[in-house]
Symmetry: C2
Subunit: 486 residues, 2 copies
């Protein structure tokens, strides 16, 4: 029962000692702090001496209670090693301006970044592929009207009524390495009205077209849920209006956000970024510690400006909070953004826009587990069920800063802060090894292999074992100094 | 198959008609819009005429396909009735300044609101109760040092080492009507170190005290997760550090947020509110449509100012988005806040602070189901597992604006937008009827009875069935005009 033993005597005997030493106890708060709290390592060593003069009876009790064997020295070892490791890295840190110089280099090189100009057409792939683009409200309305008019033509021509709907099944999806995106192949199915099997879907499609036309006309945004409730009797369940909504955006060849139907936002952004949202000027350096909620409708975001050197993409809001409270972006000019877990559409669009408008390198900070890697992949290559929309949602060329499997040893993450991977984790990891976006980058592949081999994972928070601010004061500066990303 | 029939002919035959009328088809987009999209009702009627001249063959097909019986007129009825209902309310709306005058009255009366001054002591209840208060970092440190010193005393006095920890079990909880809050009774248990059963917990408690002392010293905030990772070997699983953390805040008699351990924020706020967050001046009228993310640490929020007449507490972010985009707060000066579902601590603290500092009436807009009511209750009376903290988290005197069970008929929410309550819903509803915070308000009790009797529930979004902006343009203004809250 080493650890309990340590901590118990750590807090109490060190204090007792302080008390004995001067014969007074209660007024020794100052010294008590020094001994028991400020230098956890210092008092750990002190404790080993104290143990000798410690009240035998109580020690005996403690040992009888202990289910582990207790040897006086060992308990001090672990924490000391840990603190020494932390210290070692802290010592190796250069002054900030030296680190900044390094970062500036990569920032400049990123300035040359051109948003993907290569179009599907340029690639003449075996099978023609479908991508959707952002359209203005006016264009969406025009597209809808064209569609309906063609249908009327077909009716009047006696050819009946139906839609040709692109298939969104994974069988119809393709990863295009040149674009580093998932796109839809050209498979489409006809959805006739005069057919028992498809009459409802055809009708729903028509109704959705009508509702979207209204939204674009009024230039307002609604959620999928709102849309569903406008005609519950027809849609019956939200799943039906949702899936048809995706069909419609494929049919019209525009992004879902162009249809003015948005997901609810959950992302936040903070740091060296200024932009105009629906006419309001937002300065993200003046957003306190909570940050600015990322708006659900990206088309209201304009005029992005920034003097940041990079964008820090964070998986979890705990890490975001730490960096925001420490105002990390003032020490190293950057924009910090998180979707609080699984990336939502609004956050992905926002990141994409930052990358395109500001031409900044994007550094990803995620947990060292397959899930963290999956999250990076969603930002970079899109998610399967929105594949048709990938070109507008994906941010290519995100650097994997950490926490990488190799970091666990490199930064001496204590054993007890590493978690064993579950069978599911390992399976997911092995599947990822086969994914194109991993395969194409040997470094990523190597890191993932390490993870699957060691069967160890770790969260960003594992860095807290070196102190709460280790992330912002040592780990990240060191990463920047060594340009340690892949 | 009424609805499909309507919509199908709606979009297509009306168009066909337009085409026939002038002999041209494609260039008739303008007229097509008028017929098929702008006036859904108008064209629905037009359609009934069109049906007569409609192509017989296709109509036949449609009827063969239909699994329901189809009579030409009925399909038009439902939508027309619906639109008429919507229109009726719109007509009854007075000019905004008249409505504002009404609202101003309640706003003024709320100015007299005094934050709960009555303390537990004043009530001399049968059993002494425990409440916790907000403490400054300095006070928390002092409390911790006092605790440890007393323990050292006890050790040196040969009385061993242990903590007296207040029980947080529901058996030890009490709803105090006078305070309208849940509080802890005085039951406490002793947690000795020299005892197999409690040695680990005692040790963890000591460690947590040490970590919290560090946090207060450094004046930084961390999440429960961070805290756990500072000593995984000791805590073993987060559940253990979490529960001890709550014990500690009871022991020290301070709120969990005073311990500088925060939950991750998920709430957003927008509208007529200005405040200072960690030195930054935040103007919530200039937060676009996404709003300002509510900070995880309330103690960084200062100097709230507002010219709002009320606070609109919204359950769902969909409704929040609608109101933010329509800039509802500019038409009716208010602050709009949501926790996006289950209230998190940060949002509850923020609401409480607004109510206390700004003395504004709080109007609640939640789904008309037991869950929505539960959410209001958490804001008002606190949640069981944080009961010891309730006085600092709860905002008394929230008005239930809607959507109330009686609204469903009053506002003629269409049948198909009402959902049948599940058995679980009904059970929850019946349980709520027994809860003190419902019992004490006959009006609330009556409404809940209606819900349980009709077995019908409805979401805020159900109002979208009258048009996407019905919520912001008709429903809420009407509610304000009629002071229709309880």
């Amino acid at each position: 029962m080493n650890v309990p033993f340590t901590h118990f005597y750590g807090s109490c005997l060190a204090l007792a000692f302080a008390g004995y030493k001067d014969g007074i106890l209660v007024d020794k708060q100052e010294e008590f702090q020094v001994l028991a709290l400020h230098h956890p390592l210092g008092f750990s060593c002190r404790v080993s001496i104290l143990l000798l003069m410690a009240d035998k009876r109580k020690r005996a009790t403690a040992e009888n209670d202990s289910d582990e064997d207790d040897n006086g020295e060992q308990p001090m070892e672990a924490p000391r090693k840990q603190a020494q490791a932390a210290l070692a890295f802290r010592k190796r840190l250069k002054p900030d301006n030296a680190i900044l110089a390094t970062v500036r280099k990569i920032a400049d090189s990123a300035k040359s970044y051109k948003p993907q100009t290569q179009s599907l057409a340029d690639l003449n792939l075996p099978n023609a592929c479908k991508e959707v683009v952002d359209l203005s409200c006016a264009s969406v309305m025009a597209e809808i009207e064209k569609t309906i008019i063609n249908i009327a033509r077909s009716i009047l021509g006696g050819n009946g009524f139906g839609y040709s709907v692109p298939s969104r099944s994974s069988a119809n999806q393709l990863y295009v390495q040149e674009l580093d995106r998932i796109v839809l192949k050209d498979k489409a199915s006809f959805r006739p009205f005069a057919n028992m099997a498809s009459v409802r879907k055809t009708t729903i499609t028509t109704r959705i077209l009508q509702l979207v036309h209204q939204l674009c006309k009024k230039q307002i945004h609604v959620t999928k849920r709102d849309l569903f409730y406008t005609d519950v009797k027809l849609f019956q369940e939200q799943g039906q209006s949702d899936s048809v909504l995706d069909d419609v955006s494929c049919m019209l060849g525009c992004t879902r956000s162009s249809l003015n139907v948005v997901a609810s936002e959950k992302g936040v952004v903070v740091g060296r970024l200024v932009f105009v949202e629906d006419g309001d000027r937002i300065d993200c350096t003046k957003m306190g510690v909570g940050g600015k909620a990322i708006p659900p409708n990206i088309d209201k975001v304009k005029d992005m400006e920034s003097d940041a050197l990079f964008i820090l993409l964070v998986e979890k809001d705990a890490a975001f909070m730490r960096l925001a409270e420490d105002r990390f972006y003032n020490r190293f000019p950057c924009v910090i953004i998180t979707a609080k877990g699984q990336p939502d559409v609004a956050t992905r669009l926002f990141l994409k826009k930052m990358k395109t408008d500001l031409k900044l390198p994007v550094l990803g900070l995620v947990d060292s587990d397959p899930y963290g890697l999956k999250i990076l992949s969603v930002y970079m290559s899109g998610s399967k069920n929105m594949s048709y929309d990938s070109s507008n949602l994906t941010t290519p060329d995100i650097k994997w800063l950490g926490v990488r499997p190799s970091d666990l040893n490199k930064y001496k993450i204590p054993e007890q802060c590493r978690l064993p991977m579950t069978d599911q984790d390992i399976k997911t990891g092995k599947d990822l090894l086969e994914e194109d976006f991993i395969k194409k980058d040997p470094n990523w592949h190597k890191e993932l292999e390490v993870m699957v081999k060691t069967k160890e994972k770790a969260e960003i928070q594992a860095l807290s074992s070196f102190g709460f601010q280790y992330l912002s004061e040592v780990y990240l500066p060191m990463k920047l100094q060594e340009r340690d990303w892949i």
